[in-house]
Symmetry: C2
Subunit: 226 residues, 2 copies
C-alpha cells in the first residue's frame, strides 16, 4: 500500500475539562497512560495539548517536556505531535515548546472564525512558527480550517518556508468556520493534489462530525484520527 | 438577458493615498465628481470608502452622509454601497453609517489573513452588522475572501440573518488570503449555486489581478467591477 494508514490520536483537546467529561486525561501522567492504551491499540501519532493544574489550556514547555519524556518511554516509536494552536496563549508563546523537538507540530497558516471569536494566526507568527519547525527539524501538520489554508501551505512549501512533502489535516465541523460538506471535502483533496502532488492528508471532524470525517477520510485515502 | 450586467465602480479603495497616486479621489467632492464620470460611462454600483482629511481610512457617518447626498444628486438611480470593511476602524464603529440607509453595504462574514495582519470579523460583529442591514433595509454585498465565507453567507440567508437573494463578491489576489486561481473561482461559483441557487455574484481582483478577475467574471456570468 503506497499510503499506509496512520491512526492519529488526540489524547486531550484544548477545550474539554473534567467537568464536561471525567474521563478526559488532564495531568501528564493521565495523558501518558491514555496514549499508551491508544498506542497499543494501533495509534501511530499522538496529537498533544497540555493543561494547567486547573484544566485550562497551557503552552508550558516544562509540561510538554514531561509529556514527551513519558511518551518516549511508554510508547516507543510513536510520532509525537505538539499543538501550537491558539487556545493556549497568544503570539510566540504558542511555539515556546518547539525546541523540545517533537516529531511533529500543528501549524495553522491562516486565520478564520471560531464559534465565538477569531482564531488569530497573523502572517508574521505563522512564518516564525514555520521557521522554528525548520530549525528544529519538526514536521508540521498543517491545520486547514478553510480552502485558502491549503493554498497557502502549498505556497509555503514551494518557497521553502515549509519542508515538503506537506502533511495537511482538513478540519471541518467548526461553527462559523467550515462545516462538514462532502463536495468541499473532495475539492480540498483535489486542490491539495493539484498544488502539492506529493502531499499527504488526514481529516478531523469536530464533535459529532468526527465519525463522518473519519469515514470520508478512510474511503478517500486519508489517515484516520480518533 | 436574465442576468443583466452590473458594473461596479470602487471609487476610492481603503488604502491608496495621494502620495501613491495623485488621481485618487479623497475628498467627498472629488469622490462625487469621479463617480459621476463612471456613472455616465455606465457604472451602476458605487462601492464607497471615505477618508479623513489626511487621507487615512475613516468610518465617519458625517462624511458618508455628505457622499450619499452628493451621489443621490449627481448620479440619480445609481446604487450606493458603503464599505463596512475593517481598515477604517474596529467593532461597531464600522457600521455607524448604516442608519443613513445606503442601498447596499459590504459585509465580510468570516475572518482571514491580509498581507500583514489578521482581517478580524468576529462572529458577534458580523451578526450585529447583518442585523443593522436588516433593520435599515440595506442589501449586503458579501465579501468572500475564502470558501467558508460563501458557505457562511448561505447559512445566514437560510436562517434569516441575511435577506436573500444573496449578492456575493469573490475577492482574490490578496496576499496571505486567496490568490487568483481559476479552478477555485469555478468552485466558488459552483458552491454558491449549490447552497444558494438564487444568489448573484461578482468578483474583485486586488491590484494586478483585477483584469484577470474581471475577465473570468464576465465570461462566467458574474458582474464586473472597475
Ligand atoms: Zn492527523
Ligand atoms: Zn489540537
Ligand atoms: Zn461588486
Ligand atoms: Zn472596499
Amino acid at each position: 500500500m503506497s499510503n499506509p494508514c496512520i491512526i492519529c490520536v488526540a489524547i486531550t483537546g484544548s477545550l474539554p475539562t473534567k467537568a464536561n467529561n471525567p474521563a478526559v486525561p488532564i495531568t501528564v501522567a493521565e495523558q501518558v497512560e491514555s496514549t499508551q492504551e491508544a498506542f497499543e491499540a494501533g495509534a501511530t501519532i499522538a496529537h498533544c495539548h497540555v493543561r494547567n493544574d486547573d484544566g485550562t489550556p497551557s503552552s508550558d514547555p516544562e509540561r510538554f517536556g514531561r509529556l514527551l519524556e513519558g511518551l518516549r518511554e511508554h510508547c516507543p516509536g510513536m510520532i509525537v505531535q505538539f499543538s501550537t494552536g491558539g487556545r493556549s496563549g497568544a503570539g510566540q508563546v504558542r511555539g515556546g515548546m518547539l525546541p523540545l523537538k517533537p516529531d511533529m507540530a500543528s501549524l495553522t497558516v491562516g486565520s478564520n472564525n471560531f464559534p465565538t471569536r477569531v482564531y488569530e494566526n497573523p502572517p508574521d507568527l505563522v512564518d516564525w512558527l514555520a521557521s522554528e519547525m525548520l530549525t528544529y527539524g519538526i514536521k508540521p501538520e498543517v491545520e486547514a480550517f478553510d480552502l485558502s489554508h491549503i493554498v497557502q501551505a502549498a505556497k509555503m512549501a514551494e518557497d521553502g518556508r515549509l519542508k515538503g512533502p506537506l502533511y495537511v489535516q482538513f478540519v471541518m465541523g467548526v461553527k462559523n468556520a467550515m462545516p462538514a460538506d462532502e463536495p468541499i471535502f473532495d475539492f480540498y483533496i483535489e486542490t491539495l493534489k493539484r498544488l502539492a502532488p506529493d502531499a499527504q492528508w488526514c481529516a478531523a471532524g469536530i464533535g459529532p462530525q468526527q465519525i463522518v470525517l473519519n469515514e470520508w477520510s478512510v474511503r478517500k485515502g486519508g489517515h484516520a484520527r480518533t
